[in-house]
């Protein structure tokens, strides 16, 4: 089953002034359980594409369908709810809530979803263990290393079992050791829980770990390869 289905989508920034065609008539399907990298040089449209997949930015043309729902039909509030329930986000700059501890950050989305506290507790303990940050659970983001922060971010995205996780250059701010560690964890979660990951990168070591590599140039797909 297709988790994400993009049909002829285009994104034109500043259509009234100096139009920039960031994504150009692109079609793509992503299936449940994929571990996919969107790659390409800076400015090729990776971020724009992920934003449209995540319902953060509407496309100028074409349609984005997620789990059978055409997201352009949702209003602002429905879309927020849709993101909350279906999509996990991991950002390049981690973007954790600075006043909350690692544990509270991971809980956050589940609490927003009004999950049962027992369920939340178990899930968070489990994720902390898998991410290898149990010892740091009561620290605030400012007391964690970049790699640890990004693991918290991945755990936060994973916590409520979203349909898929979007990660825009998740390792761009990490050193190679932390990058390897994070990818290890992401790959493991992909294997254990069949979580669908879509991430953008221009780091060759990250590309090497991906099972599917979609290469963009000037907002269009130039290659789409399965790595086994």
């Amino acid at each position: 089953m297709n988790v994400i289905e993009l049909k002829n989508i285009s994104k034109i920034y500043n259509p009234d002034t100096i139009p920039v065609r960031a994504v150009n008539n692109l079609s793509l399907q992503i299936e449940q359980g994929e571990f996919t990298a969107i790659v390409g040089p800076s400015g090729c449209g990776k971020t724009t594409l992920l934003n449209m997949m995540g319902g953060l930015d509407p496309c100028t043309q074409g349609s984005v369908t997620i789990s059978g729902v055409a997201i352009s039909t949702l209003n602002e509030s429905e879309l927020t709810d849709f993101r909350l329930k279906n999509i996990g986000f991991v950002f390049q700059a981690y973007n954790l809530i600075p006043v909350l501890t690692a544990r509270e950050n991971i809980e956050f989305i589940m609490v927003l979803q009004k999950e049962d506290p027992k369920v939340i507790g178990d899930r968070v303990d489990n994720l902390l263990k898998r991410m290898g940050i149990t010892e740091q659970k009561d620290r605030r983001p400012s007391e964690l290393s970049g790699g640890q922060q990004q693991r918290v971010a991945v755990a936060r995205a994973l916590a409520s079992h979203p349909k898929f996780i979007l990660a825009d250059e998740p390792t761009a701010n990490l050193d190679s050791e932390a990058t390897a560690g994070l990818l290890e964890i992401m790959a493991q979660m992909n294997k254990d829980e069949a979580v669908t990951f879509v991430f953008s990168t221009h780091d060759q070591r990250v590309i090497d770990k991906a099972k599917r590599v979609i290469t963009l140039n000037d907002g269009a797909i130039v290659s789409d390869e399965i790595h086994l």
């Binding site: 934003n51 995540g54 700059a93 973007n95 600075p98």
Partner: protein, 404 residues
């Protein structure tokens, strides 16, 4: 969770939060202090005119107000005096014969109002005896004794036991003069009395102008309880042809004091709250702008606008719930201290006395003011939060990703 997040957010910028909290504390404190000060000021003003000048009820002949003087003496004044003794609500009664006259010292002369009074009655009704600063209260004088205020003594340049010539008109418009000896000098709490009233014995004036000893043109009732004023007035009114007026009817300034005091307090509250409002808006707006990226992230991961709005509202509410009570407490403590020890304004005594107020102020405040102020602070905080909160909800989720 929203509350705990809001609480934690407040303390991320401690300096700014403390500034806002401090501003609210000082604002509330100064309001309470000002209210207490103002209340006691107005109270003293009212109390002084009530107990040292007007009394609760005054009785005159119906014609007296249009033509003051001897033409309209009270009808059946002895009945009025008797009622003063019989009606239980009445504490004391003082009958007066008031005549315009001229008083002359060797140096100069002055137009004044002569109050012919029974010394003991007047002492009970207006506390005249206690207001003596020099001399005695109409005692053991072979000549006619007279009491004058310090102010008039100054103007006439006379001292205790000086001789003064009082000139008045009798009922037949004959001019009569007599010599009086200053037996006492008083300082009334009523500016009006200090300015223009002198006291002589009723028996002396009636003798001078040839009236009988039941001749009064004013009678004042002092009540035990101000609350009963209107009831007593109605009661006595039904038994006499004379005109009765309560202190509020005699001196509309009693109502005016209260009204202007209420308006002044409202205006000052409004101004202080307006200042706090802008302070709160400014601080919360800064706090929202600093968190642009974070709020964008919260929106991205699925936090609804409504929750973002509430988060900002909660933050402001918490700040006001911390600072409001602190300000109230500080105000309460200050007023409490001063209501026991008094606030000495002696250096302004001259100016205050002009208005009939006192040099030592004992702030007093109605307890209902505290919850009311807390409500006002909370409402101000909420109003101040609305604009920044709306700004926060307008932030686009994309900000989180773009602003790296």
């Amino acid at each position: 969770m929203m509350l705990s997040l809001a609480w934690k957010n407040i303390w991320r910028s401690k300096g700014r939060s403390f500034v806002v909290i401090g501003a609210i504390v000082i604002g509330v404190w100064s309001l309470i202090f000002m209210f207490g000060f103002y209340n006691s000021f107005i109270e003293a003003l009212s109390r002084n005119s009530l107990y040292h000048d007007f009394s609760h009820i005054q009785v005159h002949h119906k014609g007296y107000l249009t033509e003051p003087g001897l033409a309209f003496l009270l009808n059946r004044s002895e009945e009025l005096v008797d009622m003063g003794a019989e009606v239980p609500e009445i504490l004391a009664t003082s009958g007066r014969l008031i005549i315009n006259g001229m008083i002359a010292s060797p140096k100069t002369n002055l137009g004044i109002q002569v109050y012919g009074v029974h010394p003991t009655d007047e002492a009970q009704v207006t506390g005249l005896e206690e207001q003596l600063v020099e001399g005695n209260y109409f005692e053991n004088s072979k000549r006619y004794p007279i009491l004058i205020s310090e102010k008039i003594a100054d103007k006439l340049k006379v001292k205790l036991r000086s001789k003064l010539i009082l000139t008045i008109q009798d009922a037949q418009a004959n001019i009569t003069s007599a010599a009086f000896i200053v037996s006492g000098i008083f300082h009334s709490k009523s500016p009006r009395i200090n300015e223009s009233v002198i006291y002589v014995r009723h028996a002396d004036v009636v003798q001078l102008i040839g009236l009988d000893d039941q001749s009064y043109n004013e009678l004042a009732y002092l009540l035990r309880d101000t609350e009963t004023t209107d009831r007593v007035k109605v009661n006595i009114e039904s038994k006499t042809e004379n005109l009765l007026r309560t202190y509020r009817e005699i001196a509309p300034e009693f109502d005016m004091f209260e009204q202007t005091s209420a308006i002044t307090k409202q205006m000052i509250t409004f101004i202080i709250m307006l200042a706090l409002l802008f302070g709160i808006i400014n601080a919360m707006l800064m706090s929202v702008l600093e968190r642009t990226k974070e709020i964008g992230m919260l929106r991205s991961i699925g936090m609804h606008k409504r929750k973002i709005f509430l988060m900002i509202l909660f933050e402001t509410c918490i700040i006001s719930l911390i600072s409001g009570p602190l300000g109230l407490l500080a105000g309460f403590a200050t007023n409490r201290y001063l209501s026991i020890n008094g606030l000495n304004l002696s250096s302004y005594a001259g100016a205050l006395e002009q208005y009939g107020a006192e040099a030592i102020v004992y702030p007093s405040i109605d307890y209902a003011t505290y919850p009311l102020l807390m409500m006002i602070v909370l409402i101000t905080a909420l109003l101040g939060a609305i604009y920044p909160a709306i700004k926060a909800t307008r932030l686009k989720p994309l900000e989180a990703i773009r602003k790296i």
